[in-house]
């Protein structure tokens, strides 16, 4: 028992396993790079870098491969056991140990980011303010309940639930505290509406027609069919929701109006951002931006302060980071009001990569400086 445990531990911590894992990671990286020529980054990332296993098609030949999630998890264990715990400790290996610790920090950072972060954007014209930001890819159904005096309660059906209704899937949602259930079906990642009375899926003379997904996944406009099931009398009402609809669907159930809409997932920020001024400067006489920056007012816990967000200079607050991402509308002439798109990321591990990098640099430099010193000495003697 102890012997087999010992053997397993040795295998897990071996240098050769590290080599094999590194080669697999390299292979995945290479394939995932080449595949970006034909597919969008979002899909490639899901297939190669956020999976445990995958099948790569080399022409007609399907090749099963471990996904980057699996490889990196194993690499982490290998690093922990082989590169740190079982590493012979001494002056000779100190640098290596430190570098390994740094890489472990990086991997932890990657894991935290992958599991616990939200990312999206907030797009504002000058004068506008927002305390929420939107996902680029994920969709949600929001059921809005009027609380009076301009306040609204939002009941949310997140992207994960909608994905269950892809294809022929169908899912019934029972939002707590609502007098009705929502049954979701025919969730389409990218679609457009068309007038059509005859189709079996038509609602109110309109069908949502599936479109091939864009390679840039943020351009997709999702759509979904819902049925609103009255809890009291079981009456069903059909409706379509579309990601680019101009107004929500309004239904009256239990004598009360409810607005239902499909939108990109929205997340609250612990502060609000108001865009005061957006400045874009071009290089003189050519159409190439030299810099762009948003002057915003951040209101947090009742106090406001002005902040300038520009390329390479984000705003950090309460675990949220707000970046200058882009601007629009594209091709706007002078005088046309511009909007500013700020990317928002909530990443608890935001600072880990920097820490990891410093630790790794120290470790590597210490280790290889020592080696170089010996090398010069030895070679100098033989030469």
């Amino acid at each position: 028992m102890r012997a087999s445990l010992e053997r397993a531990l040795r295998a897990l911590s071996s240098l050769r396993l590290a080599c094999v894992l590194l080669l697999f990671l390299g292979l995945l990286t290479w394939l995932g790079t080449l595949e970006q020529v034909t597919s969008g980054l979002y899909d490639v990332q899901k297939k190669y870098f956020e999976s445990f296993v995958l099948v790569h098609h080399a022409g007609p030949v399907p090749i099963p491969l471990p996904g980057a999630n699996l490889v990196l998890s194993l690499l982490f264990v290998n690093l922990l056991v082989g590169g740190m715990l079982r590493l012979r400790k001494g002056v000779a290996t100190l640098g290596v140990l430190v570098a390994h610790v740094g890489i472990a920090v990086l991997l932890v950072g990657a894991f935290v980011k992958h599991r616990f972060s939200d990312e999206g954007h907030v797009t504002l014209y000058e004068g506008q303010r927002s305390a929420t930001f939107q996902s680029y890819f994920l969709w949600e159904i929001a059921i809005l309940e009027d609380l009076g005096s301009g306040r609204v309660r939002e009941h949310l059906i997140p992207n994960g639930r909608l994905e269950e209704a892809l294809g022929s899937g169908r899912v019934r949602i029972a939002p707590s505290g609502l007098p009705f259930d929502v049954e979701v079906s025919r969730f389409l990642r990218n679609c457009a509406p068309r007038r059509e009375g005859a189709d079996a899926n038509a609602v109110d003379g309109v069908v949502l027609e599936e479109r091939p997904a864009h390679t840039e996944a943020e351009q997709n406009i999702a759509g979904v069919a819902i049925e609103i099931v009255d809890e009291k009398d079981g009456m069903r009402r059909q409706a379509l929701l579309w990601g680019a609809e101009s107004r929500p669907l309004v239904v009256t159930v239990a004598g009360k109006p409810w607005a239902i809409t499909l939108r990109h997932e929205e997340y609250p920020m612990p502060f609000s951002v108001a865009l005061d001024r957006f400045t874009k400067e071009d290089h003189p006489r050519i159409d190439m931006p030299k810099s762009f920056a948003s002057d915003v007012t951040v209101t947090e816990n009742g106090s406001s302060r002005p902040v300038r967000i520009s390329m390479n200079a984000p705003l950090r607050s309460q675990g949220f980071v707000v970046y200058q991402a882009s601007w629009g509308p594209a091709g706007a002439g002078p005088g046309t009001p511009l909007y500013s798109t700020l990317a928002v990321v909530r990443n608890p591990a935001d600072r880990l990569p920097l820490a990891g990098c410093i630790v790794i640099a120290i470790g590597l430099v210490a280790h290889f400086a020592r080696k170089l010193f010996r090398y010069v000495r030895v070679e100098g003697r033989t030469a």
Binding site: G26, G109, K113, P289
Partner: protein, 598 residues
């Protein structure tokens, strides 16, 4: 549509004046005139630069060369050609300056191509009958995404762009020419700095803009008069020179008042000194000396000469890079072109360092080869790309901190990795031709050198790549986005880490490390150039077709070297086998059968 209309109006306007009533330039431009004109500051491509730099790249774009053989038999420098185009457009229209790679493009605009070679230069006069069709076709083809354009279509668009540049230059001085129609379009470059501080107006003015300006200062009027005088005195060299001197003084004073144009002289010096050319010459000479050295390996004086020549090449290159840094106010690497110079310089320095430890001739010879190849690539890239090698940078690159840390580190990583690949290739080839018999320690020390350089490379690749992630986290909001360029950097780190771990585990020895390092060179080439050819992602800087050929040549070279090394390895095993058998026989002389069976 508007571009088409504008091009047609430009083209039609120059046509009637080409009929011979205008005088031709009677004598060559004086050296002083060329010097004065070349030193004029112009604003183009988003920065202020000497007119000579503008002319150099404009002529390169249009004619594919850095000088022009005129129809009168003179050899024109870019500045002389520019002076001709602007002051004697009728003369310039007769110069065969438009390089067309494939005459089908000219046939497509309805011209007779029978008297011309497939790749040939055309004059504007020859192309003129096809103008409407050229701009019509170019307008249609321009709508096709660049990647989907056919070769003829691409050529037509290119030619139309070059003709437009030519016409705009030829009409730049129209506002001060008598009897010329007012141009619709403003110029290619602007040479008149505004008389307000730079904070209030960054853009300079073209002649048209100055002439149509609503409120002209007396100084503005004087500048216009000066321009008009230049046009009217073009045929009188002495008067022209005097006028040009006054004009250039006026403009320089204005630019100086705005704090601009201070680096014009330095940039003139950079190009006039041909420092990159001299560096290449030093490397070429060192290469010849290296060849001699390998024929007479024991000569200390030849070794010293080789070392000195390589050192000279590296020093000149370092000087060139330093001057560029000063001109641009940037760290050494911010464009692909600069990365080539920097990789070559760092590779040379590393190799010289190795040589000073080892003194075994290999590192310094490798440096010589690296210098020659590196600078040939730099020159080839400049000729292919045809763009100013000191361009303005997009917003995200406007940060000297990250350019200095991430970009510099990763480029040093490239350099060290490529040097390791080169040394490893030497090992593999040398093994095939049989160095072992001559000197067994030679291979060992070479392999140790490869390992040493790899260790150096891994520090910079790893730290550089992670710094890149941190930069991305600062500017785009994510540490790692699996963008092709990021992946390329990761591939380098992974391959180098895998080699080091495989060596620790005993999987790779001398030969294995050298094979892996040689393959590592292809990984670096893929990351440095290959991903840019994929045409996707945030780091794709534009396609240059010649790069493709060069890249694949390098891949195949490294693969062949590895294959050759494989043959050498097999041979070494085969050689070792009979020795083992013999030894067994000697030990057990009376059991020959079992010995043979083994």
């Amino acid at each position: 549509m508007s571009v088409l209309a504008c091009a047609l109006s430009l083209a039609i306007a120059i046509a009637p004046r080409g009929e011979g009533d205008a005088p031709s330039r009677a004598q060559p431009w004086s050296p002083r005139t060329i010097e004065l004109a070349g030193s004029l500051a112009v604003q183009e491509g988003g920065r202020v630069k000497p007119a000579s730099t503008f002319a150099r790249f404009a002529l390169l774009r249009i004619s594919g060369g850095q000088s022009l053989e005129s129809v009168r038999g003179e050899s024109l420098s870019p500045v002389e050609w520019l002076l001709d185009v602007m002051l004697y457009p009728e003369d310039a229209a007769r110069e065969k300056v438009f390089l067309v790679q494939d005459s089908d493009a000219v046939a497509a605009i309805g011209l007779d191509v029978r008297d011309k070679k497939k790749r040939d230069r055309w004059s504007y006069e020859e192309l003129q009958p096809g103008m409407p069709r050229l701009f019509t076709l170019a307008h249609d083809y321009d709508a096709i995404p660049e990647k989907e354009r056919g070769s003829v279509q691409g050529q037509v668009v290119l030619l139309a762009g070059n003709v437009m540049t030519f016409l705009r230059l030829a009409r730049e001085l129209d506002p001060v020419r008598e009897g010329a129609a007012a141009p619709i379009d403003t110029g290619v470059f602007a040479c008149i700095p505004p008389d307000v501080p730079i904070a209030r107006a960054e853009a300079w003015a073209t002649t048209t803009e100055l002439a149509t300006k609503a409120q002209r200062s007396p100084e503005d009027t004087a500048i216009l008069a000066s321009l008009a005088a230049l046009v009217s005195r073009r045929a009188d060299p002495a008067a022209f020179e005097t006028e040009l001197s006054a004009f250039s003084g006026r403009l320089a004073a204005r630019a100086h008042a705005r704090g601009e144009g201070a680096k014009i002289a330095l940039e003139r010096f950079y190009y006039a000194s041909h420092v990159i050319g001299w560096s290449l010459a030093a490397f070429l000479a060192s290469f010849l000396v290296a060849c001699v050295l390998w024929l007479r390996p024991t000569s200390r004086s030849i070794h010293a000469a080789l070392f000195a020549l390589v050192a000279a090449g590296v020093l000149l290159l370092v000087g060139a890079i330093a001057v560029r840094c000063v001109i641009r106010g940037r760290p050494p690497v911010s464009t692909l072109y600069e990365s080539v110079l920097f990789v070559t310089a760092v590779g040379g320095i590393l190799a010289l360092f190795l040589e000073s430890i080892h003194r075994n001739r290999i590192a310094v010879s490798a440096a010589s080869v690296l210098g020659v190849i590196g600078l040939f690539i730099a020159n080839g890239y400049e000729t292919l790309d045809k763009q100013d090698t000191m361009p303005s940078l997009v917003a995200v690159l406007d940060t000297n901190f990250w350019l200095a840390t991430h970009v510099t580190a990763i480029t040093i990583g490239y350099s060290a990795g490529l040097l390791a690949a080169l040394l490893a290739s030497v090992y593999l080839v040398a093994k095939l031709v049989g160095f072992r018999r001559a000197d067994p320690s030679f291979g060992r020390s070479l392999a140790r050198m490869v390992y040493g350089v790899l260790c150096f490379a891994v520090i910079f690749s790893t730290v550089g790549t992670i710094l890149g992630g941190i930069w991305a986290n600062e500017s785009w909001g994510r540490f790692w986005g699996w963008d092709p360029k990021e992946n390329g950097a990761l591939l380098i780190v992974i391959s180098q880490l895998a080699i080091l771990h495989a060596r620790m585990s005993g999987w790779l020895r001398e030969h294995g490390i050298c094979t892996a390092a040689a393959l590592g060179g292809t990984v670096i080439a893929f990351s440095w150039w290959g991903v840019n050819l994929l045409g996707v992602g945030l780091h794709s800087y534009g396609f240059t077709s010649g790069v493709h050929t060069a890249l694949w040549s390098y891949y195949w070279t490294q693969w062949s070297v590895v294959a050759l090394g494989g043959i050498a390895w097999r041979r070494a095993i085969a050689r070792r086998e009979p020795v083992a058998t013999q030894a067994a026989r000697l030990r057990q002389p009376n059991r020959t059968e079992s010995g043979q069976a083994a």
